[in-house]
Subunit: 128 residues, 2 copies
DNA sequence: CCAATTATAGATATTATAAATCTATTATAT
DNA sequence: ATATAATAGATTTATAATATCTATAATTGG
């Protein structure tokens, strides 16, 4: 019952990018890696997922790097969680008690409240 | 980012006990094991934690078993989660950005909403 | 075109944790 | 005394997260 470190890395990397230049410059993973003290290989593997999800762009080669997309302000914390870990179910009932299982319903309700909090928090809100 | 199966087992075992006899009879783990289709050894290991947390009692030996405590109605789903998995932090920030880290604050807020949902749901509510 | 730089992909290794089993021990009723 | 039942500790198995390594593809500047 934990969020992944990868999500933590991604969020901090994004905040670094936002605070540094906004969506104006490309930032190579090495810079981010240095700032966060996480290996370049792993961090780039993580960031590639954010690229796939289209919240940042990337360009290979010299002078390349990662850059925020114009829409970054509307991206929620939950979007990042999903981009990294996929849509997770916090609770997988081992029993086939069906729809009317109140235990499952309770867990789902709790999970919804968690998710909604993260959906309502945009990256922009974290910069204020 | 998952609840443990053990918690699932415990909750279902408790519901079985509640529905069967309330706090009147001792139920050996073998009965529960049969009802849930979980091994007796593992289930008893799980239930022992619920005993330690004082939400059920146990007696060894012939005609022994597990029995609900009189206070079971006031026990929340969160109480069971904690009894099994301990107090968990859903998010452990890898960076020492301190109190004012907004990422951490957001995750904590989301976690609080999750926990409060589970605190407000009593075992009694699951039986209705 | 060449060399340097940078992201990506795939395979693999490492760690950590949950899930489950096994054995021995202790307690209780008949 | 014997059968029943919980508990404790050690150990195994399974699974997922974390991380590294190597090779490949793309881009820039000379």
């Amino acid at each position: 019952m934990k969020f992944s470190k990868a999500t933590d890395y991604a969020l901090h990397a994004l905040m670094y990018m936002i605070h540094r230049d906004g969506e104006t410059t490309k930032i190579p993973v090495q810079d981010l890696s240095l700032a966060l003290n996480v290996s370049t290989t792993y961090l780039s593997k993580v960031l590639t997922r954010i690229v796939k999800a289209n919240y940042i762009s990337s360009t290979s080669g010299a002078k390349g790097g990662y850059r925020l997309q114009q829409n970054w302000e509307n991206v929620s914390v939950y979007d990042i969680v999903v981009a990294i870990d996929g849509v997770q179910t916090l609770f997988e009932d081992s029993f086939d008690h069906g729809e009317e299982c109140r235990i499952q319903a309770t867990m789902m309700e709790a999970q919804e409240n968690l998710i909604n909090t993260l959906k309502n928090k945009k990256l922009k809100d974290l910069t204020v």
